[in-house]
């Protein structure tokens, strides 16, 4: 018994060491999404490119798609924009949420850097962003044909992130077929 007790500090040290080591590879800025597997929040917002048209969450339904939260004030959005254009050319459906931005600037940006979005809504107040739990642009969501949020990525979309998003979209597609 006594001898076993002698090893207690070592055991505590190893336990602590394990948790601290695990902590090194956890990204504290990555929050679990509270909206996962829930329907896309309801909204009624004007289209960015056709200001007279009002879009709602119903317009996102129909097929699995990406919903990208972006703004002209966000440098990382610019970084990922070319990749989104490429995805759009490959036939991926991408919707845009122009988050807390000025529509005039946003339209100029899309003219200049091309528009990968099937449609963009103007979320000038950030209300939709708030309902989605957006805490920093860019964010990209995968929604299924019923408009349910299946995945969320915070940060730029690049080839590596796309692999994750694509896996989710493929899983949705096979799930729908069966």
């Amino acid at each position: 018994m006594r001898r076993v007790l002698l090893f207690l500090p070592l055991a505590i040290f190893l336990g602590l060491g394990f948790f601290l080591w695990r902590g090194l590879s956890i990204d504290p800025t990555e929050l679990p999404s509270a909206r996962l597997n829930q329907p896309f929040p309801a909204f009624e917002l004007a289209s960015l490119t056709e200001p007279d048209r009002i879009l709602t969450e119903q317009d996102l339904k129909g097929a699995p798609a990406l919903v990208n939260v972006w703004a002209t004030w966000c440098p990382t959005c610019k970084e990922e924009h070319a990749y989104l254009n490429q995805l759009a050319r490959e036939g991926v459906t991408i919707y845009g949420i122009n988050y807390k931005d000025e529509p005039v600037k946003a339209r100029a940006w899309l003219d200049r850097y091309l528009d990968p979005y099937v449609a963009s809504v103007v979320d000038e107040e950030g209300r939709l962003g708030l309902d989605l739990g957006v805490y920093g642009a860019p964010e990209t969501y995968v929604i299924d044909a019923d408009g349910v949020i299946r995945y969320r990525h915070v940060g730029a979309v690049d080839a590596r992130v796309w692999q994750d998003l694509k896996a989710v979209m493929d899983a949705i597609a096979t799930g729908d077929r069966s």
Binding site: L31, A34, R35, K100, G126, G133, Y135
Partner: protein, 156 residues
């Protein structure tokens, strides 16, 4: 001394408010609830700041949301639920008590109990060892050595 105290007093910060927006509250109670809530909700972007202290756009949006909800008559619980629905349990500086957080809430008391048990065991062990059997008497040689050592101390 008086000068030192005076200068220290002058260095004392008189106000430590950080929030910058000016909201008009319908009554002081609502204002107090607003202060309390914003101090307990964590800013999702600028971590380790509450939304009351943070200047980030998202924190100011959330403050506005809390303000509007309170003025519309929402309870504290409704405001907290609203935030948790959107940003997850992460936004709570005071986590809820549930299966996930039992260790967090009660762990320290468990550790305290373990510590108490260890202290009790150790002290009981020691007492038993002290009371166990009469101590052996010193034999002649040992006594002589002890005396010598005591003598040494006296000399110095």
């Amino acid at each position: 001394m008086k000068h030192l105290l005076l200068s220290l007093l002058l260095l004392w910060p008189l106000s430590v408010t950080a929030a910058i927006d000016a909201y008009e509250f319908s009554d002081p109670v609502t204002e107090a609830r607003f202060q309390e809530l914003t101090a307990e909700l964590r800013c999702p972007k600028c971590q380790n700041n509450n939304i009351a202290d943070s200047n980030s756009p998202i924190a100011s949006d959330l403050r506005r949301e809390v303000y509007l909800m309170l003025e519309a008559g929402a309870t504290d619980q409704e405001v907290v639920n609203f935030m948790v629905d959107r940003y997850g349990e992460f936004v709570l500086y005071r986590p809820r008590v549930n299966e996930m957080t039992w260790l967090l809430w009660y762990g320290p008391f468990g550790l305290l109990a373990v510590g108490l048990v260890v202290v009790l065991l150790v002290s009981r062990n020691r007492r038993r060892r002290q009371s166990a059997g009469p101590q052996r008497e010193l034999d002649a040689r040992e006594r002589e050595r002890l005396n010598k050592l005591l003598q040494q101390d006296k000399d110095t």
